[in-house]
């Protein structure tokens, strides 16, 4: 296993953690205004995985994701302003307003698309890797998926093919214990470990604490190195927890599908706060640097929202464009 990240990387990780958190909280804060008129699945509490991606994958690597993709998009280097504009349904949105929160894309950053059908982009990510292999690049295709997507047959079919062809695919599974309001126990056999299933299908696997960004970084760094060396598919299972409701801006521990105690236990292991505390302890950052970082991020996020809100809506006629490519 790779050693701890150096000071520079660990500071970058903190930046990405904080930035993703800030963006998601700002969406949550403003969502009730009713101007973001599309479903939003926020990643508050799950930032570590995306933050680790931000410093381990290269820009030319490609990634796909699902419904809960804001963090992944940002982690892969997607344009913040274009994402916020997309959620506001603006013409300047990354998908021109056609896709919304559930359909993000930033090809310049290698973020090839996120979609709203659970499991739907898994084979797409494998297909991207097939393209890489055909053309002999050393890119990696990163597929973000949840513990729910594991239940979809397409996951199994896709992984089988990826292993068969030794494709450069990194499966990054955020196991946050729930699919909507349904705990794992109602969906998957008790005691069965997701990574073990992936291993039996043929992937190399590693599991870890998805709230510890340095641990995630370490697992991911090793997997990426192996992938570039031609190892074939890797599957990382990262344990984490979503703080807010499945879809929308509110806390919902009161509605009965999970306990406040469980939530608090996870909140105590806040990936952002823990990493920040660790870096302060290590002397890698100090309070002033944190304040500066926060201020920078606040500024960037405020600007993105301001730009999104100021941006024009698409012309009504744009609803009837882009159906087919080409002449």
């Amino acid at each position: 296993m790779s050693a701890r990240p150096d000071a520079g990387v660990s500071r970058d990780l903190l930046y990405h953690l904080k930035r993703i958190r800030r963006v998601e909280l700002e969406i949550a804060r403003r969502y009730p205004e009713g101007a973001m008129r599309c479903p939003v699945h926020l990643s508050v509490g799950q930032e570590a995985v995306a933050a680790a991606v931000a410093v381990t994958l290269r820009r030319e690597d490609l990634a796909v994701s699902g419904h809960r993709a804001h963090a992944h998009y940002l982690g892969k280097g997607g344009d913040l302003t274009a994402m916020i504009a997309e959620i506001y349904g603006k013409a300047t949105g990354c998908s021109g307003g056609k896709g919304g929160s559930m359909h993000l894309i930033d090809e310049a950053a290698g973020f090839m698309g996120s979609t709203a059908i659970v499991g739907g982009t898994i084979p797409v990510g494998v297909g991207l890797a097939l393209g890489m292999k055909q053309t002999g690049t050393d890119q990696i295709s990163c597929i973000f998926l949840g513990d729910g997507a594991i239940e979809a047959g397409v996951f199994y079919e896709s992984l089988n093919f990826a292993v068969l062809k030794r494709l450069p695919v990194l499966f990054v599974c955020e196991n946050n214990l729930y699919s909507v309001y349904t705990p794992l126990a109602k969906r998957q056999p008790a005691g069965r470990c997701i990574a073990d299933v992936a291993a039996a299908i043929g992937a190399r696997t590693a599991s870890g604490d998805g709230n510890d960004v340095e641990q995630v970084w370490s697992l991911m760094t090793d997997a990426v190195a192996a992938l570039r060396a031609g190892s074939g598919p890797w599957f990382l299972e990262l344990a984490t927890y979503r703080w807010l409701e499945h879809c929308g801006p509110f806390y919902d521990n009161d509605i009965g599908y999970r306990s406040e105690a469980e939530f608090r236990a996870w909140q105590a292991r806040d990936p952002v706060a823990c990493h920040q505390a660790r870096l302060i302890e290590r002397g890698v950052i100090d309070a002033a640097m944190v304040a500066r970082l926060d201020a920078d991020i606040d500024g960037e996020v405020a600007q993105a929202f301001a730009a999104a809100e100021a941006a024009p809506f698409p012309e009504p006629g744009a609803a009837f464009t882009d159906l087919y490519a080409g002449p």
Binding site: G34, R37, C38, P39, V40, G89, K90, G93, S95, G97, K98, G99, G100, S101, M102, H103, T115, A116, I117, V118, G119, G120, G148, A149, E151, A152, G153, V154, S179, V180, Y181, T182, K186, R187, Q188, C247, G248, I255, G256, Y257, F313, P314, P316, A318, A319, F320, L323
Partner: protein, 351 residues
């Protein structure tokens, strides 16, 4: 008769079915969660137990085939998909197994499986949470397809679907869930395959389903105020289709306008226009017409859905054009107070 919402009416139907027949089971993602599939399955697990009412893995294809197997065993499963779009994963089981089993095994055994599929619209549901594919299901021999427009029909058709011996696709529009209506108490069924005339008139036949029926009611009443009496037929069943009622109406009115919640090309509306053009040719006095969703997916931005769905005023405009009578539909449009991308003030997203 009680006043119930459409969602409560579905809940009522499920409760009655589960009560009167121990073979009924009810499952699907979220069936027993705190939201209870928009309230439609609320309380059912508490009342009937986790063996009969349960959640499932996100595995739409297998869970449909499991429903087929359970039905073959003698159960009457009701499977719910929170969006029709997710059920695209299960079409092999629906079409190759459920729809064909009775036929391809020479009538040895039927598949009494009901599949509820909820169809979204507005509030950024976007391309993959808003499809209305009734035309697909209606094209498959062996399936029955229903699309209730009222709370009473939601209950009555669902009960008929559950107790029908064949696979029935129950297409339930999200925008209707909060609509209130008279709902008869007890095990009251609405027969499959029979449409209902909601307004009577001789000027034109308007055929609609689901949310289009709601829009058509506004339009027809507005037209009536302007001296145009339209026959409004709510299909209720898409397959079997009540050709007799439509044909008889067209015989009387000579004019046909069909509304559809799906994309125009290849729509159920097209089938109806074609069928009447073939068999009701001599009755038609003018070109028939369809109003449906344009041949594009629904985009996410509210700015892009303003003119996407057929609304009452467009129906008025179409009728006016077909009858060559100038009627200003603007006052009708002006009556709507809530934003165009929600069914009413009750809907605050996200789904």
């Amino acid at each position: 008769m009680a006043q119930l919402t459409f969602a409560a009416a579905i809940n009522d139907a499920l409760r009655i079915a589960l009560t009167i027949d121990p073979r009924v089971i009810c499952y699907g993602l979220g069936t027993d969660d705190p939201k209870g599939v928009f309230g439609t399955t609320a309380g059912l697990q508490a009342q009937f137990g986790a063996e009969r009412v349960f959640d499932m893995p996100t595995a739409e294809n297998a869970m449909t085939g499991i429903g087929v197997g359970a039905a073959l065993y003698g159960l009457r499963p009701v499977l719910t998909h929170q969006r029709l779009d997710f059920a695209l994963l299960s079409l092999d089981q629906i079409v190759n197994n459920a729809a064909k089993w009775h036929f391809m095994f020479g009538g040895r055994r039927a598949v009494p499986l009901t599949i509820r599929m909820i169809m979204g619209r507005g509030w950024g549901q976007g391309p993959t949470h808003s499809q209305n594919l009734q035309a697909w299901f209606a094209h498959i021999p062996g399936l029955k397809v229903v699309m209730p427009a009222t709370a009473g029909d939601a209950k009555g058709l669902l009960l008929s679907a559950i107790f029908d011996d064949n696979p029935v696709i129950f297409l339930e529009h999200r925008w209707l869930h909060n609509l209130k209506g008279e709902v008869a108490e007890g095990d009251v069924r609405v027969p499959l395959g029979r449409a209902q005339r909601l307004r009577r008139g001789d000027a034109i036949t308007i055929v609609a389903m689901s949310t289009m029926t709601a829009e058509a009611l506004h339009a027809v009443d507005f037209l009536a105020d302007h001296g145009v009496a339209a026959d409004l037929i709510d299909l209720r069943s898409i397959r079997p289709l009540d050709w007799d009622m439509i044909a008889a109406s067209v015989k009387r009115t000579g004019r046909l306008l069909v509304l559809d919640t799906g994309s125009l090309t290849g729509s159920v509306a097209g089938e109806i226009v074609a069928g009447i053009a073939e068999r009701g040719w001599n009755d038609l006095q003018a070109a028939p017409r369809r109003l449906a969703v344009p041949d594009f997916p629904e985009a996410t931005s509210p700015a892009l859905t303003r003119t996407y769905h057929v609304r009452a005023e467009q129906i008025v405009d179409a009728v006016a054009a077909m009858l060559q009578r100038p009627i200003d539909s603007a006052p009708l449009a002006a009556r709507r107070t809530h934003p165009h991308d929600v069914p009413g003030a009750w809907f605050t997203g996200p789904f």
